[in-house]
């Protein structure tokens, strides 16, 4: 399905997302993995926060689902890919959903757009009626090669 640009080592973990407690568990697991890969504290915090936003989306809008956590390697860089999948109603207008302030329930409407700003790679794949998969990837880089901060 996905065509990973880098080799994915065998370590893929799948976590179920079905409750509040699961969100906390996802945050905990992502934190552990990011720390283990040597991400800086700020990068860890950004990644865990993004994961929390997306896991909550999966729970609240997708009616639950799961996240797949994969360790990546690309030369000297190591990365972590998180794919949040649900089989909920899907997002009818992804572009609108990516807008700051757009909300379909509860939060501040920063879930998707905010999460995107916190990570290096972000893809959204949604089909109405078929569910949604949001994939984010972060790499350990000494220097984030002059990334312009989006928006």
């Amino acid at each position: 399905m996905h065509a990973p640009s880098a080799s994915a080592s065998a370590a893929t973990t799948r976590l179920h997302i079905g409750s509040d407690a699961d969100l906390a568990w996802v945050r905990h697991e992502v934190r552990q993995a990011a720390a283990g890969l040597g991400f800086s504290l700020v990068q860890q915090t950004k990644l865990v926060t993004a994961a929390s936003e997306l896991a909550r989306n999966t729970l609240v809008h997708g009616g639950g689902g799961h996240v797949e956590m994969t360790h990546l390697e690309d030369g000297a860089g190591r990365g972590l890919r998180l794919a949040f999948t649900d089989e909920g109603p899907g997002i009818p207008d992804p572009e609108l959903a990516m807008t700051d302030g757009y909300t379909s329930g509860g939060g501040l409407g920063l879930g998707l757009s905010g999460a995107k700003r916190l990570v290096q790679e972000f893809t959204l794949d949604s089909r109405p009626g078929r569910g949604t998969t949001v994939t984010i990837t972060d790499w350990t880089t000494v220097l984030p090669a002059a990334r312009t901060g989006g928006s």
Binding site: H16, A21, D22, K46, S52, L108, R117, G149
Partner: protein, 141 residues
Amino acid sequence: MTGLPTSRPAPAPVPVLALGDVLLVTLRGELHDGAAEQLQDDLAHRIASGPAPLQGVVIDISGVEIVDSFLGRVLAEIAAAASLLATRTVLAGMRPAVAITLVELGLTLPGPVTALDVEAALSLLGRAPVSALPVPPEGGV
């Protein structure tokens, strides 16, 4: 919904401590969404039903590793509700990584006042003596 919640402990409610006319809440580690909403309710009640007019509410988040938009909304709403009841809310001790992340997320929490730590928060509310006059480094100008 959760088939088997394994061995994860149920979220304990966050304690609210009364220090004279200030309420002190200390958040640490993982905060479940339910516990955060519970806290919001508790605080609203405590502020509204408090015996004397409150100086303010201090929320110590120095032990919190992440604040996402959900917790951010809860904190903002606590401050907004308190302000309706003429009470100030001070957010104390946010960690640098959390602050950077919140800004990147687009969440600047204009509502609550912020302070470096609980001591600074209390002095801001006029509770503790303003840690005397700061002494210049290396004695003297």
